[in-house]
């Protein structure tokens, strides 16, 4: 009873969080190496060395920061990633939280991520971090609607807001084929929620690290870990709602999900390395003028299919 309801789910989430974040760091370095970009040290050891180094450094202090928010923000972001991972079903029975409204809860994780990332930059009381924070609000309020319409689209054929039901509804045809606009739009949301690559408006290099520009030592380690973990949580959700989750022949369900999560991560990290960062104004225009109408089309498509 205790094992099945408390220990096993917690263990699954923590394992996925730790191994997943490490895998993101290694994969990103391997991709950088394959593309001929400079990288120091071995791809497998460098993330660990970097983490250990950050852990031994002292945490930077700015003038009169909002201490509570500044120190809590990385942990809250990590917690949001953990909530996201807790919703991902690894098989029909192995799911940490099989909530009846798990799709909506993932939506609130995305919405709360905006708040947390904003607070991370705002509370440092430093100009570049502040600019990163306000940039991210513009991005976060733009992608949240796209995400909502895409997620309603996948809930329609399942006639449920539960991730396990969404997976079950893909037994015959995965949503990636059934709703061709869905996955590309959702991947853009994923780059937004983890502010990665082309959508890295919050912590971009033109702001010398943005919201993290004044953060060093263990808080920086927590922030980097949380970003990687959020990417993992997103890939789990994307694999669940578009790539059929645990469904697949021959291999056991959890293994299928891991493979699909790797495929999503690979696509996101490649996009992060290959695509240039968008300027904030252009990014917001693109979101509201092009991508939001496309998500309407996706929803209408899903609705018509559900009716037929």
């Amino acid at each position: 009873m205790i094992w099945e309801q408390l220990v096993l789910p917690t263990l699954t989430v923590l394992l996925a969080l730790g191994i997943g974040a490490y895998a993101v760091a290694v994969l990103d370095r391997l991709i950088a190496g394959a593309l001929g970009l400079s990288r120091a040290g071995s791809a497998w050891l460098a993330p660990l060395a970097r983490g250990a180094w950050l852990l031994t450094q002292s945490a930077n202090v700015t003038e009169a920061p909002d201490w509570q928010a500044w120190r809590l923000a990385p942990l809250l972001y990590l917690m949001l990633a953990a909530v996201g991972l807790a919703l991902v079903p690894w098989s029909a029975s192995l799911v940490a939280t099989d909530l009846a409204t798990s799709v909506v809860l993932w939506g609130s994780v995305e919405a709360l991520a905006t708040v947390v990332i904003f607070l991370h930059g705002w509370s440092a009381n430093a100009p570049l971090a502040l600019i990163g924070a306000y940039r991210y609000v513009a991005l976060g309020l733009s992608y949240i609607l796209i995400s909502m319409f895409v997620l309603i689209g996948v809930a329609l054929p399942a006639e449920s807001l539960q991730f396990t039901q969404v997976v079950a509804s893909q037994a015959e045809l995965w949503n990636v084929i059934r709703q061709p606009l869905g996955l590309p739009l959702f991947l853009i949301v994923g780059l937004g929620v983890s502010f990665w690559g082309p959508l890295n408006l919050a912590d971009s290099t033109d702001l010398a690290g943005g919201t993290a520009s004044e953060v060093s030592g263990p808080p920086r380690l927590a922030w980097n870990l949380a970003r990687a973990a959020m990417l993992v949580a997103f890939s789990g959700v994307a694999a669940t709602v578009f790539l059929g989750g645990w469904l697949g022949p021959w291999l056991p369900g959890p293994l299928w999900l891991v493979l699909k999560m790797f495929a999503v991560l690979l696509a996101l990290l490649l996009a992060g390395r290959l695509l240039p960062r968008l300027s904030p104004e252009r990014c917001v225009t693109l979101m509201w003028v092009v991508l939001l109408p496309l998500s309407f089309v996706d929803l209408v498509w899903a609705g018509l299919e559900a009716l037929l």
């Binding site: 909506v104 919405a111 709360l112 708040v115 705002w122 502040l130 306000y134 976060g140």
Partner: protein
């Protein structure tokens, strides 16, 4: 009552969190902090709704309040003369009236909780809260909710139009042009009119 002791403990912890963060809203000196203390309070209430098996309403509370408080903080910062919401400012006004109204409201609600007779109605085993709520919202009550939605939307647009009618540098309809450095001079801080009409680029490649 068929719930465990864990539910009771969670309820009391969340209730304390909701009240404490609600109280902090009025003590803090910052628009941004006040917004997010309010968000914490609402999240605690949403979690209590989850304990009451209102599984959609509780989660929707997280979602709606996260976006709403973010937008509220953003709009306050945009409309107040307080750059980026960093300066301390008083977050309460008309304290006496507010305290009186709060006390009366607390007493009325407290009296209801203490003296009302609540019906003992156990949940039916086959209850699907999400589906039932959906049928209610898009069934008999559809007209009410849809008209309320339209009214709220028009109100929001109207409020923004009215309050942003006059911008920092004059009427919004004439365009926001800063005043000149000299009386009657050219607007300050405008990009120079270059030879390439492709705005934005200030580079010249030689």
């Amino acid at each position: 009552m068929n719930h465990g002791i864990g539910v009771d403990i969670a309820f009391f912890l969340l209730a304390v969190l909701a009240i404490y963060s609600g109280w902090r809203v009025f003590c803090t000196d910052s628009m941004v902090r006040a917004s997010f203390f309010l968000l914490v309070s609402f999240i605690a209430v949403g979690a209590i709704m989850l304990l009451l098996t209102a599984v959609y309403l509780g989660v929707a509370m997280f979602f709606m309040m996260a976006v709403e408080m973010m937008v509220m903080a953003l709009f306050m910062v945009m409309f107040m003369m307080n750059p980026a919401g960093l300066n301390p400012m008083k977050m309460v006004h008309q304290e006496r009236v507010a305290m009186a109204v709060g006390a009366v409201g607390f007493m009325v609600l407290g009296a209801m909780a203490l003296f009302a007779e609540f019906p003992e109605r156990p949940l039916p085993a086959d209850l699907e809260p999400v589906a039932a709520l959906g049928r209610e919202l898009l069934g008999e009550s559809m007209l009410i909710f849809e008209s309320a939605g339209i009214v709220l939307l028009t109100t929001m647009i109207g409020v923004v139009v009215l309050s942003s009618h006059r911008g920092r540098y004059g009427g919004a309809e004439t365009g926001s042009v800063p005043p000149g450095l000299m009386p009657g001079g050219e607007p300050a801080g405008q990009p120079a009119q270059g030879e390439d009409s492709e705005g934005g680029h200030q580079h010249h490649h030689h």
